[in-house]
């Protein structure tokens, strides 16, 4: 650190920002690895259907394929909005 470093409006530690971003995206891409190609489209269409009835977020639908012995299990979870924000949506 130089004496006059404060004069340079420096962003601190971009390396740690890079590391955190990579951790997340790499973990996400690894979990999608080897999964069937139709998953992203299935996820998008499910989201559209659910949104006809409940106002959920873009990332509310989580979908992946798990191996369970001989079978592949399609696991699907939908995070519904909490009551307060759902009510606000309905009112608005």
């Amino acid at each position: 650190m130089g004496l006059f470093d404060f004069l340079r409006a420096r962003q601190k530690n971009t390396a740690s920002v890079a590391r955190e971003r990579l951790r997340i995206i790499v973990a996400q891409e690894r979990s999608a690895r080897g999964a069937p190609d139709y998953l992203p489209l299935l996820r998008r269409e499910l989201l559209e259907v659910i949104r006809k009835y409940v106002n959920v977020d873009q990332d509310a639908v989580d979908i992946h394929v798990e191996k369970d012995g001989e079978h592949d299990v399609l696991e699907l979870s939908v995070a519904l909005p909490d009551k307060a924000s759902a009510a606000a949506q309905a009112a608005g």
């Binding site: 130089g2 601190k12 390396a15 890079a18 971003r21 790499v26 690895r33």
Partner: protein
């Protein structure tokens, strides 16, 4: 016993060809019989880095199409007797390489008693890259400490574990190593570049070597002399360490610390 080593990365411009050339030279310098093959059909460059571009008569695709013998196409290095280069073809035909053709060439090299065959992969995940890694026993994944390179490397690690001969046969998996290139210790110290530990942790495989960003790499490619032959340059020495580790030697990592700044530089943030 012939070992097939693929030098790959996904991303372009990270140093695959520089690495292939130096690793091949380093192995040959230690008395191994080595062939280094350019899989980048249409964009031949290994010949330039090796300094044999004017001696290319026949290439990889000629051999596969039986237009010449393997022996005719192998270019013998002028500096090291046991080193041979097989240039890529400059054809625009995307399907010039076939799996059967590549397999035949690799088998012939095995029969000829080569110790190592270094396969210089093209960037991307298309056919050339797929065939370069398909028959590998060992993979050197070249990575820069930079977000897009690290992400692409992870993608390549996934392909190595699924789309290769060893994966399909269900035999022992390809041995994977990271080779960090363009490493700038001063920027790592400033917190502006991911460190060797960061990259290792994200990708989860061990690091065979760290090659510092070095002027020597450009001067080496300018003159067609693989940088490992430049004893003066840090990059050359780092490649030599990596080759020694590849052969089982224990060597501490070098060039990981930034050069000490003088008082003036420290005060004024040099």
């Amino acid at each position: 016993m012939t070992e097939f080593i693929v030098v790959t990365s996904g991303k372009g411009g990270v140093g695959k060809t520089t690495t292939s050339a130096s690793i091949a030279v380093g192995l040959a310098k230690r008395g191994k019989k080595v062939a280094v093959i350019d899989f980048d059909v249409g964009l031949r460059n290994l010949d330039l880095i090796m300094g044999c571009e004017r001696r290319v008569v026949y290439d990889f695709v000629n051999v596969i199409h039986n237009e010449c013998t393997l022996k005719q196409a192998l270019i013998k290095d002028k500096r090291i007797d046991s080193l041979h280069v097989l240039a890529a073809s400059q054809t625009r035909d995307k399907d010039a390489l076939t799996k059967e053709g590549v397999e035949k060439v690799l088998n012939d090299l095995k029969e000829d008693g080569f110790d190592y065959v270094v396969c210089d992969s093209p960037a991307g995940i298309e056919k050339g890259a797929y065939l370069a890694m398909y028959f590998a026993d060992r993979a050197l994944v070249v990575v820069n400490p930079e977000v897009s390179s690290v992400r692409d490397s992870d993608r390549i690690l996934g392909l190595l574990a699924s789309k290769t001969r060893r994966a399909e046969l269900g035999v022992a998996p390809i041995e994977q190593h990271l080779l960090l290139t363009r490493y700038n210790p001063a920027r790592v110290a400033d917190g502006d570049m991911m460190s060797i530990d960061d990259v290792k942790e994200i990708l989860g495989i061990e690091v065979l070597g760290v090659v510092p960003e070095s002027e020597g790499v450009l001067t080496a490619s300018n003159s067609g002399v693989p940088v490992i032959l430049d004893d003066e340059s840090n990059a050359g020495q780092a490649y030599d360490d990596a080759v020694a580790r590849l052969l089982g030697e224990q060597r501490p990592m070098r060039f990981l610390d930034a050069p000490k700044k003088g008082l003036f530089a420290r005060m004024f943030g040099g």
